[in-house]
Symmetry: C2
Subunit: 268 residues, 2 copies
């Protein structure tokens, strides 16, 4: 039996990371855990988030995964050191890969990070970016409406556009030199187009958008070897566990780009 | 020592019930519990909601409250029988008082209920309304954007208006005879004005809006005796406990209409 890659998130959003993984490493087996009974982590305190993240990781480690991907920016921001300390396999968070990708993308050195309240409050992106480039300037904004907009499938509506405009105009007012925006929540790739559109409206210079899901998979590739083309081997299985029945089956295709074969309810 | 009224919710929303209580019974002591570590209940399964609600009630019963108010429509919809079975004091939920108030308000017998996904899925409002009036017609709509709109303080923005228009036009398309709308979530009173405005736009006939927070307090009054005017006695104390530090202090004034004197972190 090959070993799977373990991926967890507080809910359904981390499936954007699975989607990226399956595109680039189609033959890898993946075990996804959505902690839907305790979603969202974004509004909870660091102590609570760390406690929840540790139980998620423990579940995946019991399945003997070869790699843990923390597909939740809030958990990455608040719990990565604790998670890495307790695992003997590599643990990849969302924040450091996102920070690195932002630094590669920016020319002005002015970066904006959109995330949940928990991610923004943690200051983790600022720390990760400024650790690598102390001259970089980082502004952040919590965007609590983005998650329900993504889940409603309203990512391309006027409501999403007005909401993005409100969040982003505050950001550009705070720092007019921002040229790179990090989507620091795994739900946000579903609003990527609307964010890009609003950036074009608000900024004369082009703004680059960095998706932390894609950045995580690039970092995971260091542990997975060369990317594979499909068809050489059969596609890897995707197992999905949730801590609460919730709407995972209904929402998954929107985030994953395919339907789920199986869904298992687990009690953590 | 006088006995307090116990009120609980998954988060901050139940403070709209406390606000109503304090206006009508200013001298009552109140102990509020916000289960902020596990908020929101609205996306969780009935089994999980019941388990959480029972631990909240147990906490309040240990404080020897004389009355429990379940200021969370999702918990009321999914757990009221279990809660009532375990308590020796009266337990008041949100659904039955809201249903009763809606039946008193409607002339056409066509009622719409807005709530969280959990409340809508439970079918509890339909059951409560049709139990009393089998000829009544009930349509429901989950409005997941309303909670972050209320918490952002965006209840009176264009975004709130467009969102309300989207949710309500679907409702009125489903049933053109609706003349009464129940705000079936304790966050929603903060969007009352925008809901009323959109109803005026969409309907030629007047639409009545029923707030389940106010309806709950009317039912509680049966156990509390006559309403009191302020100034006769000193104002009752308000204690507030939360299961996670979260943003309670910041958000409370928006829902409660006053700042919190004290906030205690508890572990359930």
């Amino acid at each position: 039996m090959t070993q799977a890659i373990g991926v967890f998130d507080s809910g359904v959003g981390g499936l954007t990371v699975v989607r990226e993984l399956r595109q680039r490493f189609p033959h890898e087996e993946i075990h996804y855990l959505g902690d839907t009974a305790r979603v969202p982590y974004g509004t909870k305190s660091p102590r609570t988030v760390e406690r929840y993240a540790l139980t998620c990781q423990e579940f995946l480690l019991e399945k003997r995964v070869k790699l843990v991907m923390v597909a939740c920016n809030t958990a990455s921001a608040n719990a990565l050191p604790a998670l890495q300390e307790r695992a003997e396999v590599p643990v990849i968070g969302a924040v450091h890969p996102g920070a690195l990708a932002a630094l590669e993308a920016t020319r002005s050195g002015h970066i904006a990070v959109l995330g949940t309240l928990g991610t923004v409050r943690s200051g983790a992106y600022e720390a990760a970016i400024c650790e690598r480039d102390p001259k970089a300037s980082v502004v952040t904004r919590a965007c609590p409406l983005f998650v329900p907009l993504a889940e409603e499938g309203w990512g391309e509506t006027d409501i999403a556009k007005l909401t993005a405009r409100r969040y982003l105009s505050e950001l550009f007012q705070a720092d007019g030199h921002v040229d790179t925006i990090v989507l620091g929540c795994t739900h946000y790739p579903l609003l990527r187009d609307v964010v890009a559109e609003v950036c074009e409206e608000l900024c004369s210079a082009p703004v680059r958008i960095v998706d932390s899901a894609a950045a995580m998979v690039s970092q995971a590739s260091l542990h997975l070897g060369a990317e594979e083309t499909p068809l050489k081997r059969p596609a890897g299985a995707l197992r999905c566990s949730v801590t609460d029945a919730s709407r995972m089956e209904e929402l998954a295709p929107r985030f994953l780009g395919e339907t789920l074969d199986s869904l298992e309810l687990v009690d953590l």
